[in-house]
Amino acid sequence: MTPHIAIALTVNGEPSEVAFSGYKTLLEVLREDLNLCGTKHGCELGECGACAVLLDGQPVLSCLVLGVDCDGRTVTTVEGLAADGRLHPLQETFADLGAAQCGYCTPAFLVTAKALLDEHPHPTRDQIKDALSGCLCRCTGYQQIFEAVEAAIAQESAR
């Protein structure tokens, strides 16, 4: 067996300690050792974008990040988007407007869109397209995804 290493990190706002084989990627640590299977994979080579998570608030492809490099850092996955028993506005609009079809790439789109809105609360359609261009979706044709992001912005502004 490969020797285990242990790290401490903050996952979805909660402190976590986890031990795993040193070769594992953040993707594998999340799915296999922290039991957070909401983060998906489509290639494990950094090509499809399906495994995106937020690392210290920035979107990263978790298949290209080693688990050992996440000691002391903050990770947000799709499981951490809802708060206080309420879905994040992006989750609401994605569900309502057909932005999730098979749902497999959805977690990556959600966290990537969240990172965009955290930085630019009022992006243009082109900025949304740019920010999401690293995530592939084979179902939707993207249009309903753009509309869901814009609807979430509108919802937030209306509050």
């Binding site: 090509e47 994605f94 079809q101 044709g141």
Partner: protein
């Protein structure tokens, strides 16, 4: 046209599984983690065509952490999706047929150990001649890739004649003959195929798999493992995209099932992305020739279509795919005489099969470009030409397909108006253009894959005293929203809300058979079964309520979670109370519904492919901007109108249309599953050119145009609440519309896909040099076609049978 009043049907709504999908709770196959689970990896052939001289697995077996190593001798029984091509073994027996063909399997404590052990398996291959394309396979009968098929390396030959096309060409004012090529491409679902097998506490086999067709996997496992089907449970996990690529029973499913039986512990496999390219079953590369006779006014007198399909190494759905390349030409436009010849060859490449549109997009591409050429030659606007020749509704075609409602004319009128066609077509400046094309598609295959008289879809309902309803159906959620259709139909009939209903689907132990998510069949077939089951439940409740309220049954209304008197809405009870009353009257309340398609009028051999209860229709206008210096093609806007019959949940329907446009643009402009020979100093093997998502180009957010979607709603009485299909049809017109738009923009014909900048430049250069401004095939190889089966069309007194020779 006014639509019938409904509460749930027809309004855009959050899909029933929407919350699960945005919270990461949808459990896909690879998300299943079970105690004591071990992991499987497959060793795949490095040779495109070879005899296996020896396999030595002793070093792999001795590797620490390895539990099991399997080879072909562990799987003596062949299987395959079609009864006529049972040509696959879970692991190769003596022969490999493409680079990627599974040869051995390792089961180990973790994936890494299993990977390591694959390197310790020693396989000796004795190379055989490699067949890289149809020309090879038609020219050389030996060595045969398979010991079955119509001749040598020809898998299937089809030859059908409906009326006398030669006479029709004689009667025509003009006859057009064109050759087209459609390159192969693959589904590229973001979810890699995965499966987990385990024994349940009773010792019976359970397989969870990302499959579109659990029923057919169930049958294949029973055969390949010689187990009673009743002792196997197949559970289709929600698919992370399918598009046809998860419709075959796969090697890895059979392997993990066998391993779980041998080890009595859960065994998981998740394919790598490279392996997904090898599973393939995607779009067949098709070379085709269209010969069409027309009158000066555009009326078609006859059409002769010839196709050659590069099938790859196994049968898969290929026989059906071959028929489909010639089946639906007659469903869009009236063709009084029609001849079709199709040929599928085996080659040493991953097997082709069904991808969205199954066999029909290739020939639709040829047909719609040829119509564009015809309209130019006859000086008739392409939209006007099509409007003149649209097939009549509620009629039998030359090849005995019964078409239902046809909304194609409305679709054409809508997209031409919305795109300002009359002011743009042939009127935009050089470099900008618009193109039009149309299509149609099945709302479910009229025949099951194995012929039988049983229903194609079954639904069971359990009504609970709580007021909750559970709906059971074998249909498979692949992202298209089949669970949503099931729940919406039941909720509409029973007057309750979608959230009150639990859907249990795609589980061969718990759910009645539905044949699976293919051929755009689920909404129509499952929807009708669901309505029947719900109406039977409503009837029981109404009978009990009618007694209690002393009102006739037909005056009872089921709405807003209540059952009440239409004449006095205060006189009524809650839905839950109505269930209790019915249960007290009749005992436990459970009902079933089922759907069997109508019998086809086609009674000739080969008539089983093409019939459907009804067909959807689509028209699209694509706008392109072509840079004549670089050849670069930009698609800013697409207008598409789809004859859906009735949109059950417009939010989801729109998603299917736009997703189809997206996938179609990928096929039109960039996607190709292509191969190359390694240099002779290496192995000289025929390998996939780029089995990775980085190099297999697919459209990103930045490539996607603005899509204007219009749903044409004219309910078809055969569909649930009038609905027809939407998952596949809207893909079809987009590729030819792109090609037609490129011609409008820069005056060159690209008669093949993908339409790349290189091809545009080549055609522009040719045109500048005074040669035809065209890129595309010119020759069509000689094929030893059998004499056509002569089937007189309905208007010649035919009865759907072939004339006796």
């Amino acid at each position: 046209m006014s639509l019938p009043k409904t509460r749930i049907i027809g309004a855009p709504r959050r899909r029933v599984d929407g919350r699960a999908k945005v919270t990461g709770q949808t459990k896909f196959a690879d998300d299943i983690m079970l105690p004591r689970m071990v992991h499987c990896k497959l060793l795949r052939s490095t040779s495109p065509h070879a005899r296996i001289t020896s396999i030595d697995t002793s070093r792999a077996r001795a590797h620490p952490g390895v539990h099991l190593v399997l080879t072909g001798k562990d799987f003596p029984i062949a299987y395959g999706i079609l009864p006529v091509s049972q040509d696959e073994h879970a692991l190769a027996i003596e022969r490999v047929r493409f680079v990627g063909d599974p040869v051995a399997a390792v089961v180990a404590r973790d994936e890494l150990t299993a990977f390591e052990a694959l390197d310790l398996i020693d396989v000796v291959y004795e190379p055989l001649r490699t067949f890289s394309g149809p020309a090879d396979s038609l020219a050389h009968a030996e060595p045969r890739i398979h010991e079955y098929g119509d001749a040598g390396n020809v898998h299937k030959l089809v030859s059908l004649a409906f009326g006398d096309v030669e006479q029709a060409f004689g009667d025509a004012d003009r006859v057009f003959e064109d050759t087209f090529f459609y390159e192969g491409n693959t589904h590229l679902p973001i979810e890699q195929h995965a499966a987990v097998a385990a024994l349940d506490p009773d010792g019976k086999l359970v397989l969870w798999s990302s499959t579109q067709t659990p029923h057919y996997v169930h049958r294949a496992l029973a055969k390949a493992l010689t187990l009673p089907a009743a002792h196997i449970r197949v559970i289709a996990t929600p698919n992370g995209g399918g598009f046809g690529g998860k419709s075959d029973p796969f090697n890895h499913e059979v392997v993990v099932a066998k391993a779980a039986l041998l080890l009595d512990r859960p065994v998981k496999i998740c394919l790598t992305r490279e392996e997904v390219f090898y599973c393939h079953r995607g779009r067949h590369p098709v070379l085709m020739r269209f010969k069409t006779g027309v009158k000066h006014d555009g009326t078609i007198t006859g059409m002769h279509v010839k196709t050659i399909l590069d099938g790859g190494a196994y049968g898969s759905y290929g026989v059906a795919s071959t028929f489909y390349t010639g089946a639906l030409q007659t469903v869009t436009y009236h063709i009084p005489a029609y001849q079709f010849q199709g040929c599928r060859v085996f080659t040493n490449k991953p097997p082709c099969g069904p991808k969205r549109g199954h066999g029909t997009p290739q020939s639709r591409f040829g047909q719609e470009i040829q119509l564009d050429k015809i309209s130019e030659a006859l000086a008739i606007d392409p939209a006007d030409l099509r409007l003149r020749i649209v097939e009549r509704p509620e009629t039998l075609t030359a090849n005995y397909l019964h078409v239902g409602t046809i909304g194609l004319s409305e679709c054409i009128r809508h997209v031409t108006a919305a795109s300002d066609w009359t002011n743009t077509f042939r009127r935009l400046p050089f470099g900008r253009g618009v193109g039009l094309a149309c299509s149609s598609y099945l709302s479910g295959a009229g025949l099951a894959i194995y012929w039988n008289d049983m229903p194609h879809s079954g639904v069971q309902l359990k009504l609970d005293r709580s007021g909750g309803v559970t709906a059971f159906c074998g249909a498979t959620e692949i992202g298209q929203g089949s669970d949503d259709v099931l729940v919406a139909c039941v909720a509409e009939v029973l007057g309750i809300e979608p959230i009150d209903i639990r859907a249990i689907t795609g589980d061969t132990d718990l759910t009645p058979v539905d044949l699976g998510s293919y051929s755009s069949r689920v909404t129509l077939m499952m929807g009708n079964a669901a309505i029947q089951a719900a109406e039977r439940a409503r009837e029981l409740l109404a009978a009990a309520m009618s007694k209690k309220l002393a009102v006739p049954k037909d005056r009872l209304v089921f709405a807003e979670r209540r059952v009440f008197d239409a004449g006095n809405s205060d006189a009524g009870v809650s839905f839950a109370e109505a269930v209790c009353l019915a249960e007290a009257t009749f005992g436990t309340i459970g009902t079933t519904g089922s759907y069997t398609p109508p019998r086809s009028a086609a009674r000739f051999k080969g008539g089983g492919v093409g019939p459907s209860p009804t067909y959807s229709y689509t028209a699209a206008v694509v706008e392109v901007e072509v840079d004549s210096t670089t050849g670069w093609i930009h698609v800013p806007r697409v207008w598409i109108a789809h004859d859906i019959g009735r949109a059950l949940n417009p939010a989801l329907v729109r998603g299917q249309v736009e997703g189809s446009v997206y996938m179609a643009l990928g096929e039109a402009l960039m996607e190709e599953q292509v191969f190359r020979r390694l240099p002779p100093r290496l192995s000289h093997a025929l390998v996939h050119r780029f089995p990775s998502m980085l190099e297999y180009k697919s459209p990103t957010t930045l490539d996607m145009p603005q899509v204007f979607t219009e749903l044409i709603e004219n309910p078809d009485p055969r569909g649930p609440f009038g609905a027809k299909e939407v998952g596949q049809g809207p893909l079809l017109p987009v590729m030819p519309a792109v090609a037609n738009a490129v011609y409008d923009a820069v005056g060159v014909r690209i008669d093949e896909v993908p339409i790349t900048p290189e091809k545009i430049l080549k055609a522009l250069d040719a045109k500048a040099a005074g040669k035809p401004g065209r890129v595309g095939p010119t020759r069509f190889p000689e094929v030893a076609w059998p004499d056509p089966l002569q089937v007189p069309p309905p208007w010649e007194g035919g009865d759907g049978t072939a004339r006796k020779s």
